[in-house]
């Protein structure tokens, strides 16, 4: 008797369902995607007991005719593609024909649908994968799918569900993310009779963002819209002061489909570069469009992962778009976090919510203190990719950015420069007290001057290589093979900066000359950083050398800048402020600390209990 046999369809369905239907929120995701693919203009989701009892998704989409309805619960039955070629140019969320059968295999499923033009609607029942039959039913145009008793047949999965609150939070998060991509569609989520989300259709992208992100965050969000090499990235990024301790605030979409992509997330962080201290993660919602046929979403059954044909271009486009948005913005570090809007963040994202409430619950007499983003927390963050410098260098024609892509300032940013702080007095020979239209601005004189000199040095480095000292005693370094390859790939770039290394094979390098200014930097660390490059493994030309260039410029600037404790004349202070305003990136010193901190009039008024 053969020991290998074909599995009973009920078993294989359940195995497949394991991949698609992981938890109640995956059911919501799959069903809502179906609704959107059916052209719905409103989608309603009703959930009872976090989906354990009921998940009901109703839409006003195209509905299904009786034959389609009966086919829909069969595996690999789909209306969305017809041939293998269609896989290359997907315009719909679904295409595998797996969602409904998978869901049907793990619950009691009822589908009620009425296709346009049909005389009546139809109802189909399926229980644990067995079709119970089709009967006429009354319904307006559209489809309602009800999933009852989810995971009743798979107790193991049921056991792994988290608390109702957690699972409901996941559903809200899932639906919020989908809702952001489709402001033209109305979404409602009702959890045990309570409306958790209500987003009317056609409310506009900005309004939808405010609804989902909360007013404060949405108001502070910087718009992104950037195209290069056939790739477009648009959406919003939050200013660095609103960054979070986790990556939960990153909503990334490819062709409107929410995706998880480590490289995209990484490049998003890279774009913030020195603006973010270590351990903080950007908040962003970004939509990526690539020419159809250049993205493969058929990587994972849940379609969360995607692959790009030209990943480097996509990553570059994302990075440049975000850099541009940040570079054009006015990024003051406030002394206090903005108040979170009610309803944001969604219930389950407890960490940031807790943070925010802690901030706002500070009693007024607690005084104008530093926010969690205050200087004390700013460390030399993200040495690998200070976007600001990258921006500046690209502006100078150093980077991989196509010509003409230099950040143009938004009208707001231009206006911000008009309203530049005016010097009032020097505080403890270390800070410049200034005022602008919104309140008091405190400038760290060293950080500000450092930024000014740093940008000048970068310009100077472009004109000519810095002095380089030949070594009398070459220094031997041993590197891993992959490091060697990355080093060799960027040889031209680092040689241009005065670093000379001889590759003697077997991972052995001899450093024979070093940039004069980096004499005191341990070579192992410096070359190690260069060799490790970006985790993408494929640094764009010149990107790895940027670190070196920045290091040289930062050292030059730090050495030359006025120090804390230097008395500055009125003219000196004015000069530093004026020069800072002319900087490409006045919002961060070369080490990621903010040179400017603002105490708004409102905060002062609160502190004085005037309101």
């Amino acid at each position: 008797m053969p020991t290998i046999r074909l599995l009973d369809p009920a078993v294989s369905d359940r195995i497949a369902a394991g991949e698609v239907v992981e938890r109640p929120s995956s059911v919501v995701k799959e069903l809502v995607e179906n609704a959107l693919d059916a052209g719905a203009s409103t989608v309603g989701v009703e959930v009872e007991r976090a989906g354990r009892s009921l998940i009901r998704v109703s839409d006003d989409g195209s509905g299904m005719a009786r034959e389609d309805l009966e086919l829909s619960v069969l595996r690999h039955a789909t209306s969305k593609i017809a041939s293998a070629e269609d896989l290359e140019r997907l315009g719909t969320f679904g295409f595998r024909g797996e969602a409904l059968p998978s869901i049907a295999s793990v619950c009691e499923l009822t589908i009620t649908t009425h296709a346009e033009g049909d005389e009546s609607g139809w109802r189909l029942g399926v229980d644990g994968g067995r079709t119970l039959g089709t009967a006429p039913a009354a319904r307006a145009r559209g489809t309602t799918v009800e999933a009852r008793g989810l995971f009743r047949h798979t107790p193991a999965r049921l056991k792994f569900l988290k608390s109702d609150a957690t699972e409901s939070g996941r559903m809200l998060a899932e639906l919020s993310r989908m809702a952001l991509a489709r402001p033209d569609v109305g979404f409602t989520l009702v959890l045990d009779g309570r409306t958790a989300l209500e987003a009317p259709r056609g409310e506009g992208a900005q309004a939808r963002l405010a609804r989902l992100w909360g007013g404060t965050l949405a108001a502070a969000a910087l718009p992104v819209d950037h195209s290069e090499a056939g790739v477009r990235v648009h959406g919003w990024v939050a200013p660095p002061a609103l960054a979070r301790g986790a990556r939960t605030g990153q909503w990334l979409y490819v062709h409107g489909r929410l995706v998880e992509h480590r490289q995209l997330g990484f490049h998003l962080s890279q774009a913030y570069g020195s603006l973010l201290p270590h351990g903080r993660h950007p908040v962003a919602a970004l939509f990526i469009e690539v020419p159809s046929g250049e993205v493969d979403v058929n990587v994972h059954p849940a379609k969360r992962e995607v692959r790009f044909l030209r990943e480097a271009q996509v990553l570059d486009c994302l990075r440049h778009g975000v850099e541009r948005a940040l570079g054009a913005a006015r990024l003051f570090v406030g002394t206090r976090m903005a108040e979170p809007a009610p309803g944001w963040p969604p219930a389950r994202e407890a960490a940031p919510a807790g943070e925010a409430s802690r901030e706002t619950s500070r009693p007024p007499w607690a005084g104008p203190v530093r926010s969690p983003q205050g200087p004390a927390e700013f460390q030399a963050g993200g040495g690998a990719g200070a976007w600001a410098e990258a921006e500046l260098l690209r502006g100078l024609g150093w980077g991989a950015r196509p010509p003409g892509a230099r950040a143009e300032e938004s009208p707001e940013a231009a206006a911000a420069r008009e309203d530049w702080p005016v010097f009032l007095a020097q505080l403890h020979r270390s800070y410049l007290l200034c005022q602008d239209s919104q309140g008091l601005v405190v400038v760290d004189q060293h950080a500000a001057h450092e930024r000014v000199l740093y940008e000048r040095q970068l310009v100077a480095l472009r004109r000519g290589a810095p002095a380089s000292q030949k070594l009398l005693l070459p220094q031997r370094l041993e590197l891993a093979q992959e490091q060697v390859e990355r080093l060799e790939a960027t040889r031209e770039a680092w040689e241009a900066l005065g670093l000379e290394m001889e590759n003697v094979g077997k991972g052995m390098f001899f450093v024979t000359a070093i940039p004069e200014l980096l004499k005191s930097v341990p070579m192992e660390a410096l070359v190690g950083d260069l060799a490790d490059g970006r985790p993408t493994g494929q640094p764009a030309s010149g990107e790895a050398a940027e670190d070196l260039r920045r290091e040289v410029a930062a050292r030059m600037a730090c050495r030359a800048a006025v120090k804390a404790g230097d008395a500055l004349s009125w003219e000196d202070a004015g000069r530093i402020l004026a020069d800072l305003s002319a900087c490409a990136i006045p919002w961060s010193c070369p080490h990621g600390r903010p040179p400017l901190v603002r105490v708004t009039l409102a905060e002062l008024e609160r502190s004085f209990q005037r309101r």
Binding site: A465, S468, Q469, K470, L472, E516, S520
Partner: protein, 366 residues
């Protein structure tokens, strides 16, 4: 314990030992000076365990004994005393009373038993060298000791003696300085790396005399005896680079210049070289030497120097500071700079009054 000495003697002996006293407060007892009275003499010892100095003066010992007193306070106090006799008496090892003129000062110190013992000298291999020669050698090459924390072994000077020669070598990886002297009779073979701090202390407390200092070298310690002074230092442990390999042997193009004018020219170029890593350019050909420096947007300078040179035309760049330090250390009226190519090391040797200095400087990329 009770002694009578003079303000002059006391302040001298305290100043000598003070240099070795720890500035860190990790071990509190080390912020003291150990003071011992016996056999008509007073011994003062300071140490941070890396380095120690022990100085002895003769004094009237009324009652022998010892104590450990706070080094800085003691030094500051004694300096303010009026000239004349100073009486120091100690009870219970820690309660000191000092009388000078009409002043009475009471100091509380530490138990002398708690003070680390000065290492006992094992008279192993030794070098005898007049203190003036030792000082000259240090002065000729201490400047190129490395400041790089990661290259530990270069933070000291190699001292090497064989039956005919004694030499000292320092390098920071960019340049190398070497001084070689004839050995005194009966010299033993030694080789050790002396930390920069010890070189500094030696130049501070030795006086340039013909009296020979004796250097005893053990596996991990250097012990110097000079008259009533004793100094010990921990040695740096590791492999000093092979200096001989680095000294160019085939540099055929000789450039001979007067030292003082060349120093003056480099000093004039330096302000405009400072922003570019002190880089000065040497354009050398049969017509002579043209030295120049430039800083973008600030200005440039150039000056010609009379030299004897018959080699090929060459453009090199040097760190002006390296050249200046080497030229000043040469101590001769004229200098011979031997060149090979623009990117290979240059060798500087004194002409005329050769006192054994050799300087290798790696050029910069112009």
């Amino acid at each position: 314990m009770k002694i009578v000495s003079t303000k002059a003697d006391l302040s001298r002996v305290i100043a000598l030992a003070l240099g070795a006293v720890s500035t860190k407060n990790v071990m509190p007892v080390l912020t003291n000076l150990l003071i011992e009275a016996r056999d008509h003499s007073l011994t003062v010892t300071g140490t941070d365990l890396e380095l120690g100095v022990r100085a002895k003066i003769s004094a009237e010992v009324v009652q022998p004994g010892s104590t450990a007193l706070p080094a800085k306070k003691l030094s500051e106090l004694v300096r303010t005393f009026e000239e004349g006799d100073v009486e120091l008496s100690v009870k219970d090892g820690v309660k000191a009373e000092i009388r000078s003129g009409r002043a009475t000062i009471k100091l509380t110190g530490a138990q002398p038993e708690d003070y680390p013992a000065f290492p006992t000298l094992r008279k192993e291999r030794s070098i005898k060298i007049p203190s003036e020669t030792l000082l000259a050698m240090i002065r000729r090459c201490a400047f190129s000791v490395s400041q790089d924390e990661t290259r530990y072994i270069l933070q000291g000077a190699l001292l090497q003696g064989d039956p005919t020669k004694i030499r000292m070598v320092t390098t920071d990886g960019h340049r190398l300085s070497m001084v070689e002297k004839d050995a005194t009779a009966g010299q033993e073979a030694v080789s050790c790396v002396i930390p920069a701090k010890a070189l500094q202390e030696l130049t501070r407390i030795l006086e340039p005399k013909e009296d020979a200092a004796t250097l005893y070298v053990t596996e991990n310690q250097l012990f110097v005896e000079w008259g009533d002074l004793a100094i010990f230092s921990r040695l740096l442990d590791g492999q000093f680079p092979n200096y001989d390999q680095v000294i160019p042997k085939k540099n055929e193009h000789k450039l001979v210049a007067e030292t003082a004018p060349l120093i003056a020219v480099l000093n004039r170029m330096s302000p405009l070289a400072a922003d570019k890593g002190n880089s000065v350019k040497f354009l050398v050909n049969e017509d002579g030497l043209q030295v120049s420096a430039a800083t973008a947007e600030i200005g440039e300078a150039s000056e010609s120097v009379d030299v004897d040179y018959s080699g090929p035309s060459m453009t090199l760049a040097f760190n002006a500071r390296y050249l200046l330090e080497a030229l000043k250390a040469l101590g001769s009226e004229r200098v011979e700079i031997r060149l090979n190519t623009a990117l290979s090391p240059a060798l500087l040797t004194p002409l005329g009054s050769d006192d054994g200095g050799r300087y290798v400087i790696m050029p910069m990329r112009a």
